[in-house]
Amino acid sequence: MKPALSIILFTTIAGAAQGMVVALALATLAGMAPATALAPLLWAATGMLLVALVASFFHLGHPLRAWRTVLMWRTSWMSREVIVLPAFIALVGGWALLATLAQRDAVAPHWLAGMAIVGAVLLWYCTAMIYACIRFIQEWAHPLTVVNYTTLGLASGFVTAGALAVMAGEPGFASDIAPWALAATALAWFTRTLSLRRNARLKPKSTTQTATGIQAARVVQKSMGMTGGSFNTREFFHGASAHAMRMARTGFQVLAFALPILLLAWALLSGSALAWLLALGSQAAGLLAERWFFFAQARHPQNIYYQAVS
């Protein structure tokens, strides 16, 4: 598949915002929410979700008709996502408002924190199922897709929460959640590695023989029927070399997982603000590369029909 920038931005930014909301909600439930930074962090999460929402609109041919997307929630995961996303934004924005008004007390009702966690998990599930429900994109059609959207969101959310807490002048909260951020990043690396290993072993179910029904040991395409390309050649081929794919695969693992783990360990030991900011920057770049790779690695069976120009 050809990775679309709008979807890469939408899924990574929204994922990090969801993770940050989960981090703040868990901290609230545990009674260790940041006193002064809670409201700014919740506003930051709301802002990130809005930015993600705007990014998603750039994927549409007719953005003004987007309201129609809520109609098919019975069958379409995209429709469900479109319903859950604004509801989640309203929830987080409402909590941010509440936290701002009740600033000094910094007590958020526990039911609100609980609902925020449920909303974040629901949104991860809907987003991931958009991809996981397409049964013939074998790289995606697996529960690990849902697991990874959740773990990657959690990791980036905890790191974002820590880094923003440091910037908001609450290093205490940052050092409280540093072990959690480290654990979440390690967990995300583990689950993402599982899907990388699974995808490396995948054998495509569709072949040129099943795609054409021609029963012969050797069937090769001699012409795809056009010379100048079509939607089929633009949308489903990423065009990157095998070398670039290997670089992206190694690169995102270093930037999103390995480096942040080292930096978070440094932050944990020294309480360094710089370590948090570097971890945030490194992981953000790494997760953008990860999401690019997620799309690029998916081999669509329609590509069998578009192998040779002439």
Partner: protein
Amino acid sequence: MNPVQPAPETLAKQLALVIDLNVCVGCHACVTSCKEWNTSGAAGPLTDLNAYGERPTGTFFNRVQTFEADSYPDTQTIHFPKSCLHCEDPPCVPVCPTGASYKRKSDGIVLVDYDKCIGCKYCSWACPYGAREFDEERKVMTKCTLCVDRIYDELLPPQDRKPACVKACPTGARLFGDVKDPDSEVSQAIRERGGYQLMPEWETQPANHYLPRQVTRSTAPQAQPKFRLGDFLKGEPASGKHKPGSGALEKDAR
């Protein structure tokens, strides 16, 4: 992940194409007639971009591709027309968030309501066959309609109420009809000539079927008489059935 979906509704009628790979010669007449009909319809033109440039590209509902099977000296060239297969369980329909993609209950045609399409392209991801093409100018997803604006048009003479591709095919490689009617031309062709579906592994149950290419064996005698120049110069026939000058045509010419 395969969430349990309700079994597809079985429709009483399912219009479809049956494509005979034995007789398709790869002339692309179906491609151009499809483009001509559908770019002239009420739904608006099918975009052509850079039409006179180096890399012309545009929206087509139908493509003819060419495949080569087996190895020399048994190589077969197979021309392979491909359009929407109007699956009985179309994976592109339930994923559509707006309901713009739908399958008609009355005749099983899978259609896009261009006024409801938001151009998110998700349905094209959910089609294993690459049957859908996004129109870059109209910004909506488009696909084969089985010429729904033609096959029911009572202003046309009955023999013309067929998809444009079927009408255009010079070799009669494209049959059109109801695959649920056991007595229809298409059902008989599928039954008697081994009609098959594409990518059966995904259980989409395409309505369109393909008739397999049969390798034709030569009926000529396998042992050809050996030609010797000396015999030919002497006027003696080679040790076979055929004598030069004994053909009916040559007799008549005398």
